[in-house]
Amino acid sequence: MKRFIPISLITFLIPLMMQGQTIKATQDIKSPELEIGIVEHLDEYIPDDLMLIDTTGQAVNLKQLIDKPTVLMWVYYRCPGICSPLMTSVAEVIGKTDLILGKDFQVITISFDAREGSDLAIRKRENYLNLIGKPVDESGWMFYTADSANIARGTEATGFRFKKAGNDFMHSAALIMISPDGKITRYLQGTYFLPFEFKMALIETSQGKSGPTIYKVLQFCYTYDPAGQQYVLNVTKVAGSLILIIALIVFLILVLKPRKKTTTN
C-alpha cells in the first residue's frame, strides 16, 4: 500500500506532465517540400499493387499481407545510423507489450535500398527476433526488400522521404501504423517507443474491432497530441465524464432506493 500511493501518483502525474511538453517542430515535418523526413499521410490508403520480395525470394503483394494491425517501417539493412536503434527498439517494445505479435499485430520491415537482397534480410530477421525477450510467433515480424520502382512508390505513399548520400542514405525513423484495411492511422516518430504509446497506437489502428473493453476506455481517456507526438491523458474529457457519471449515480440512488420510513416524532 505504501508503495502503491507514490506509484499511482506518478502514473497520474506523468501523463499530466506530458501534456505540457513541447514541441518537435511540426511545421518542418509536415512541409511538402521536405527532402528528408516524414510527411504524414494520415487516413490515406497504401497502394494495392506494391510488390515486395520476401526472405525466400518470392514476390508478395504488400496490401495482401496486411490482414491485421500492422507496424510498417522503412530501413536499410546496412544502415550504420538510426536503423539499428529503431529495430532494436521495436524488438524491445514487442517484448514489453502485452499485445501478441502475430496475433494482435504484425511488423513489416522493408529495405528502401534496392541494392539489398534477401540474404541480408534473413540475417537481420534472425538478429532482431532474437532480441525480443520472450517467445513469439516469428512469422509476425517480416523483413522484405523491393525493387527501386516499388520503393519509390511505397515511400511516397507513406510519406517517407530520404536522400542518397554517397553509399548511404540520409533519412529519419518512424513507425507507420496501418489498419487491417490498409489505411495509415498513425505515425510514431523517433527511435524509442514507450510500450504504452506503442500499444495505444495499435489499439487505435485496430479501429475497435478487436481487443477487450479496456482498450476502448484507454482510447477514450488518451488522445494523441500531434505537437508533442505522444499520447496524453485527456484531463478535461476524463474529468467531465467522471462528473456526469457520479451525478447520474447520485440521481439513480436517490430515485431508485426507497425512502426510509420516517418516524413521526
Binding site: 505540457g20 484531463v235 474529468a239 451525478a247 436517490l254 420516517t262 413521526t264
Partner: protein, 535 residues
C-alpha cells in the same frame, strides 16, 4: 396547511444551549437554522466589504484621471470586489442563508439530510474566504486578473493568483456539498403527503440549483487546479507558449460560471415565488409551469456558456448556436415573470415591504434580462463587448436580481427567524432610496457602454464624464439606502418588541410553527394534505 398546533414548550433555536455556550455553541451547531445564520452574518460581512470596494471604485471614476488610486490598485480592487461579491456573496447567496434556514421547514423536515456535512460546508466557505483574503496580503501583491482569472494573463502576472484560485477552489467544495445536501434532503425528507408537486417552489428552485452546483462546480474546480498546476509546475494547459490553449480556459471557466449565474438567480427567483402569493393572498399562477421553468433554466443554462466568448475566437456556427440557445434560456425566465404577474391579477394585494422588494426585483431583473439579450445577439455583442454595458447588465442581474431577492427574502422571513418585526415605514424608505440609488448607479453604465467606455479602467475620456458623475452619486444614494435598511433590521433584531409568529398570514409550513422555530422545527412532523399556496 396542516392540522396541528405547536406549543412553545421546547426551546427555540436561538435560546437552545447545547454542549457549548456563546460563539462556540454557534460554530459547532449542526442545526440548519444556526448554520443559515452563520452564513448570513459572514456573508453580510463580505457583502459590506464588497460594497465599500465598489464605492471606492466609483469614487475613483467620478472624474477622468487618477483620483484616489492608480491603475494597479484599481485592477486589484475590481478583482477583489468581483471575487468577494461573486464567490462569497451571490453564489452561496439566497441558497446558503435562506435555503439552509427554510428548506427543511418548508418541506416539513427536522433538518437537512447531512447536518454535519452542512456545517462542514460553512467551514469550507470560511476557509476559502480566508485564503482569498490572504492572497491580498502575501506574495507579490493582490491578484489583478479580474474574478475570471483569464489565461494566459493569470499565468503570467506576478501577483498572487495561486492563493486566490486556491481559495475559490475551496469555496467550490462548499457549494458542491450544500447542493448535494439539499438534493438529498428534498428526495428523502419531505413530510408525509408532500409529493413533489406539493413542494413549495423555493424548494424546486433549490433543487435545480443543487444539480447545477453538483455538475458545474467540479468543472471550475478542475480548471483552477489546472491553473495552479500550470503556474507551479509549468504544465502547459492554457499558455500557448508551452503548448496550451487559452481558449480552452475560457470554455472551462464559463462552463461553470454561466450556470453559476443560475446558481445565484434560481434561489432568488424561488424566494420571490414564495413572497408573491403570500402578499397577493392567492395561489401562485401556473405552479407546474414555474417548476418546469426552474428545471429548464437549470438545464438550458448549461449550454449557453459560449456567449461569453463571441469575440474570443469561435467558429461562426458555434456563435449562432450559442446565441440561439441564449435566447432560448430567456423563455423560462419570462415564464416566471409572466406567472408572477398573473398571480397578481385579480388578487387582494397586501402591500408590505417584502412585496415591494419582490416588485422591485421583477423590475430590475427585467432590465437585466433584456440587456442580456442585447449581449446574446451576435452583432450587438461585438459593439458592447467588454464595455460598461456588460458591467451594467450583470449588476442588474446579479445585484438587481439576487441582491434584491436576498433583501426581499430577508424582509419576508425576518419575523420568522427572529420573531421580531422591523419598522415598516423605515424599511420602505430604505428600499425606495436603495432602488433610486441602484438605478442611478447602474443605468448610466448602459449608456456609457453604448458610447464605448471600456470596463476595467481606472481612467476614461472626458466625453464620459457627466454620466460617470451621475453613476458615482448614485452609488452614494444606494449606500445610504442600504445603511437605512441594515440599521432598521439591526434595531428590530435588538429591540425588545413583542414577539410575533406570523405578520403576513403565510400558508407555507414555516408559518405554521412558532417564531423563532424550535430546534427540531416541528414538535410533530406535519402531514401535508394540499398544495403549498392554498388561499
Amino acid at each position: 396547511m396542516t392540522d396541528f398546533n405547536n406549543s412553545h414548550k421546547e426551546p427555540n433555536y436561538l435560546e437552545y444551549r447545547g454542549k457549548y455556550k456563546g460563539i462556540l455553541g454557534w460554530i459547532t451547531s449542526t442545526d440548519h437554522k444556526r448554520i443559515g445564520l452563520l452564513y448570513f452574518y459572514s456573508m453580510m460581512f463580505f457583502f459590506l466589504a464588497g460594497v465599500v470596494m465598489g464605492l471606492l471604485m466609483k469614487y475613483e471614476l467620478i472624474s477622468p484621471g487618477e483620483q484616489i488610486m492608480g491603475a494597479q490598485t484599481y485592477n486589484g480592487l475590481f478583482t477583489l470586489h468581483g471575487l468577494t461579491m461573486i464567490f462569497l456573496f451571490v453564489i452561496p447567496g439566497v441558497a446558503a442563508v435562506f435555503g439552509n434556514f427554510f428548506l427543511p421547514i418548508l418541506i416539513g423536515a427536522k433538518d437537512v439530510s447531512f447536518p454535519r456535512l452542512n456545517l462542514m460546508s460553512w467551514y469550507l466557505y470560511i476557509i476559502g474566504a480566508i485564503v482569498v483574503l490572504i492572497s491580498q496580503f502575501i506574495g507579490d501583491g493582490p491578484p489583478d486578473t479580474g474574478w475570471t482569472f483569464y489565461a494566459p494573463y493569470s499565468l503570467k502576472t506576478n501577483t498572487n493568483v495561486v492563493a486566490a484560485v486556491t481559495g475559490a477552489f475551496i469555496l467550490g467544495f462548499s457549494s458542491i456539498l450544500t447542493g448535494l445536501n439539499f438534493i438529498v434532503t428534498m428526495h428523502r425528507l419531505r413530510a408525509p403527503g408532500m409529493g413533489w408537486l406539493r413542494m413549495p417552489l423555493f424548494g424546486w428552485a433549490l433543487y435545480g440549483t443543487g444539480w447545477i452546483q453538483l455538475l458545474a462546480t467540479p468543472v471550475v474546480g478542475i480548471t483552477f487546479l489546472m491553473v495552479i498546476a500550470e503556474r507551479l509546475l509549468g504544465i502547459g494547459f492554457f499558455d500557448p507558449a508551452i503548448g496550451g490553449d487559452p481558449i480552452l480556459y475560457q470554455h472551462l471557466f464559463w462552463i461553470y460560471s454561466h450556470p453559476a449565474v443560475y446558481i445565484m438567480i434560481l434561489p432568488a427567483m424561488g424566494a420571490i415565488t414564495e413572497i408573491i402569493p403570500t402578499f397577493a393572498r392567492k395561489t401562485i399562477f401556473g405552479y407546474t409551469a414555474i417548476v418546469i421553468s426552474s428545471m429548464a433554466i437549470a438545464f438550458v443554462g448549461y449550454f449557453v456558456w459560449g456567449h461569453h466568448m463571441f469575440t474570443s475566437g469561435m467558429s461562426s456556427t458555434s456563435r449562432w448556436v450559442f446565441s440561439l440557445l441564449t435566447f432560448l434560456v430567456a423563455i423560462p425566465s419570462a415564464i416566471k415573470v409572466f406567472n408572477w404577474t398573473a398571480t397578481l391579477y385579480k388578487s387582494s394585494i397586501n402591500l408590505q415591504t417584502p412585496f415591494y422588494w419582490a416588485i422591485a426585483f421583477v423590475f430590475v431583473f427585467m432590465i437585466g434580462g433584456f440587456s442580456g439579450l442585447v449581449l446574446g445577439s451576435l452583432a450587438t455583442d461585438i459593439h458592447v463587448h467588454d464595455t460598461a454595458f456588460v458591467v451594467a447588465h450583470f449588476h442588474y442581474i446579479v445585484f438587481g436580481g439576487t441582491g434584491f431577492a436576498f433583501f426581499g427574502a430577508l424582509h419576508y422571513w425576518f419575523p420568522k427567524m427572529f420573531a421580531k418585526v422591523y419598522n415598516f415605514k423605515v424599511a420602505n424608505i430604505g428600499l425606495i432610496v436603495f432602488f433610486i440609488g441602484f438605478n442611478m448607479l447602474y443605468f448610466p453604465m448602459f449608456y456609457l457602454g453604448l458610447m464605448g467606455m471600456p470596463r476595467r479602467y481606472y481612467d476614461y475620456l472626458p466625453m464620459f464624464h457627466s454620466a460617470n458623475i451621475l453613476s458615482t452619486v448614485g452609488s452614494w444614494i444606494m449606500a445610504t439606502g442600504l445603511l437605512i435598511i441594515i440599521i432598521n433590521l439591526i434595531r428590530a433584531r435588538k429591540g425588545s418588541g413583542k414577539e410575533i409568529d406570523d405578520p403576513w398570514d403565510g400558508k407555507t409550513l414555516e408559518w405554521t410553527i412558532p417564531s423563532p422555530p424550535i430546534v427540531e422545527n416541528f414538535e410533530q412532523i406535519p402531514e401535508v394534505k394540499h398544495g403549498p399556496y392554498e388561499y
